[in-house]
Subunit: 196 residues, 2 copies
């Protein structure tokens, strides 16, 4: 836990991806989308601007590559200073602790102003998403199972899976509690529309 405002986590993550193999911005964005997106999303346009910045800083070196039947591209590879910057980041203790936000909870915190039906709808919707997401991550974990070279990718996927499971569990618990208390009438506010 630090503020990590030396190179910035996003920059380092990009260096990390380039370190796997040299690639173009397009390829990097695609790789990011299918590997780190679950815990560190990067938008397409940021990939390009960040690569340009890293090249200016001398951390990556881009080479223009002409292609037949395809647009030209620029392949970036890690330079020695870039590798050093990456390892400095990785070997420093601590990590940037980002605070995450949850829009569902932001709403649900004020659920006393909703009708019982609205609460349930919201939770059902959330549960459905969480479950879809859970399945996605389960598939990734399964795919990576046993592949030892992907150990840390599997680890991060497993993290996501655990959290997705927690989401589903929570939603189910809440729905159960809501349905219980509806019978007892202690959480509902009875009226459907505005009651004042």
């Amino acid at each position: 836990m630090d503020g990590n405002r030396e190179p910035g986590t996003t920059s380092c993550v990009i260096l990390g991806l380039v370190s796997k193999r040299p690639m173009s911005g397009y390829e990097l964005a695609a790789l990011a989308a299918r590997s780190i997106d679950h815990f560190w999303p990067i938008s397409k346009s940021q990939v390009y601007s960040e690569l340009a910045r890293l090249e200016r800083a001398g951390y990556v070196k881009g080479t223009h590559i002409e292609q037949d039947h395809r647009p030209d591209k620029r392949r970036y590879e890690l330079t020695a200073p870039g590798e050093q910057a990456l390892d400095t980041w990785l070997q420093a203790p601590g990590y940037s602790s980002e605070r995450n936000r949850n829009g569902l909870l932001a709403k649900f915190f004020f659920a006393e102003r909703m009708t019982q039906q609205q609460r349930i709808n919201l939770l059902v919707e959330y549960r459905a998403h969480a479950d879809t997401y859970r399945l996605e991550l389960q598939a990734i974990v399964d795919k990576l199972e046993g592949r030892n070279h992907a150990a840390y990718g599997r680890a991060t996927a497993r993290y996501g899976l655990l959290h997705a499971q927690a989401n589903v569990t929570w939603a189910d618990d809440m729905l159960k509690a809501l349905r219980n208390s509806a019978e007892l009438g202690d959480l509902d506010r009875k009226a459907a529309p505005a009651d004042r």
Copy 2:
């Protein structure tokens, strides 16, 4: 799941807090810190600027209050349009799905470039934090247990607790796996410093 760019979740959350009782920016910031901070952090200066914005928009009304032995303050209360905006937000289906970032995972994804010891240190540190956080939330859940009027606050706290538990579990699992595989030597890269 929408983009929710009509009033903005932060604005609505502030309306929601003001709806509980009229209060000053200072009080609101304090309340936010001890209630919604876990899933929707708002910085102090944003509270003030947002309240000013909401007043300009007519959603809250501020009244200057003079105090003896204390700085004057401005107490905000919800207006009718403000209440309407709040309920419109709450009653609309869907929620803003923010993508959250995790700095630990961002690093750990590239853990193959670390030494075994660095990996372990990182996870131990993370585990410690996660556990502290877990205890905090457990305390909140316990405190709110049984208080029916705080049902939804309890619900959000329980969400946080489940996730904190997932964090601890994950860290423990990883540490175990790391220690196991160290014996087998299939995850480590042997050398301590750069090995090329």
